[in-house]
């Protein structure tokens, strides 16, 4: 994604994108997941800055919002007459909730809840780790490294963070990088 597109998305979040650009960007967002995710992230951050973050989100809401969004998109493609931007305002708001719910709904999982992402092979809790399991903790971004190397580095980093927090400059959240660096956004 180019910086120009990021700037456009940022302007969209701020409701400062010129109408023509807005129209084109929204059209691209219909089919581009990355753009939608970026928009959702920016929206969430803006919400955070405005102190509007939800503390709890109803499980399953994301699916309903996405279904509503699909219906909205179908409705739009059918050519039903209505103001273009008025029509988009609601689905976009829905997207914001959907994407943040996709994150926060996971927070709501209870033990036993199958949750999304079914089909992942899971070892029994407490089972001894096996060699290929290294991929499972390769979640954070180490510049230019493959999964097994990142996995090893992540273990070191978690361990090091605690020693650094107790021996060096005090920080509020020593593990901020483990939580905040996302492999998917490489």
């Amino acid at each position: 994604m180019t910086d120009q597109v990021k700037e456009q998305i940022s302007a969209l979040v701020d409701d400062a994108l010129p109408q023509q650009e807005r129209s084109l960007l929204l059209a691209r967002m219909v089919s581009d997941t990355t753009l939608r995710e970026t928009w959702s992230r920016y929206t969430l951050i803006q919400d955070a800055l405005r102190n509007h973050l939800p503390e709890r989100v109803e499980p399953g809401l994301s699916q309903r919002v996405m279904a509503a969004l699909d219906a909205e998109a179908d409705h739009d493609r059918s050519g039903t007459a209505r103001p273009r931007f008025a029509g988009w305002a609601r689905p976009l708001a829905g997207l914001a909730v959907a994407a943040s719910v996709a994150v926060l709904a996971v927070v709501m999982f209870q033990p036993g809840d199958p949750g999304p992402g079914t089909g992942v092979q899971v070892a029994d809790a407490g089972a001894p780790p096996v060699a290929e399991d290294y991929r499972r903790v390769d979640t954070s971004q180490w510049q230019g490294q493959q999964a097994p190397v990142s996995e090893r580095l992540n273990q070191y980093l978690v361990n090091h963070n605690e020693f650094a927090a107790r021996n060096g400059m005090p920080v509020v959240a020593p593990h901020v990088r483990i939580v905040g660096f996302d492999q998917e956004r490489r």
Binding site: V103, V107, D133, R136, R152, N159, M169, P170, V172, R177
Partner: protein
Amino acid sequence: MSRRPRVPSFPAASRIPRWLALLLTAALFSQPLAAGEAFDWLDRMSAAIHDLNYRGTFVYQHNGKLEAMYIVHRGGEDSRQRLFALSGAAREVVRDQEGVTCILSDSKAVMVDRSLPRGPFAALPRDLEQLNRYYRFSLGGTDRVLERHSRVVVVEPRDDYRYGYRFWLDREHALPLRSALVTAAGRPLEQMMFTQLEVLEQVDDAALRPELGGEHFTRFEGPGPDTEEEVPAAAGSDWEFTWLPAGFELRGHNWHGMPVSGQRVEHWVYGDGLATVSVYIETYDETSPPGLQGLSNMGAVNAMGRTLDGHHVTVVGEVPAETVERLAMGVRRND
């Protein structure tokens, strides 16, 4: 009538206007005074971070990206902290005096590390004189963050082997409402800023309990350290370090198992009181999972890896790349 003799004054002083003399005196003493005051603020910050109960939402900026996170912290004897992502992948970290639990929903894994230093979260080293050799401490005025008055504290490194810091400390509680990690040249590398923060009377256990996880998550838990106490550097080690940044001293040394691989690793911690690096050395052969070769980084954290005499050496720390590289290349095996 004879006049009383005038008390002679210093000729030079008599030619300097009083206002200029005062200014020069102020300039002469203001530097160490400001450094002391800045350090006092950092000391207050350290106590606030560890001792207070608080919860809040903050944004974390790195490499042009922004992430939103939520933190809840219980201070004091029974310290416990929970941090989770509000944007990006759902991840959660809970830390207490027993260890760190990382719950990673994107890899359906729970990683528990109990090989940590014992005791409560530590306070800032109190040796300002020592730290002054490697950093300049100053006050950067006042600012408003979160609609609260904050005191800006600036910590600048005196060489290129460590980073600097900038803190916006809440005037009332001394919690960092905003902070930035900067290079020796003053370029910001990472920043975090609270967008909402509450200091609380108490934090319930429920608020500190992780919500991610469950039976469909794989749990990895490594053995703890070989001993509860840190081991002196020379005791039983085959390794030595031929280069360290000025002021870096040994802060910890032990052997422990890694959570996922279970691999036993020898671990050194070196630091100057603010910057800290870890050196991990483990046996290494063709059956071992691959280790880092060369440099890598995760934001401002740099790492350097190399193989040496059937072992793998990894140096990790929130320091510039040159620091971890020189340190790793200076590792030698004792004959």
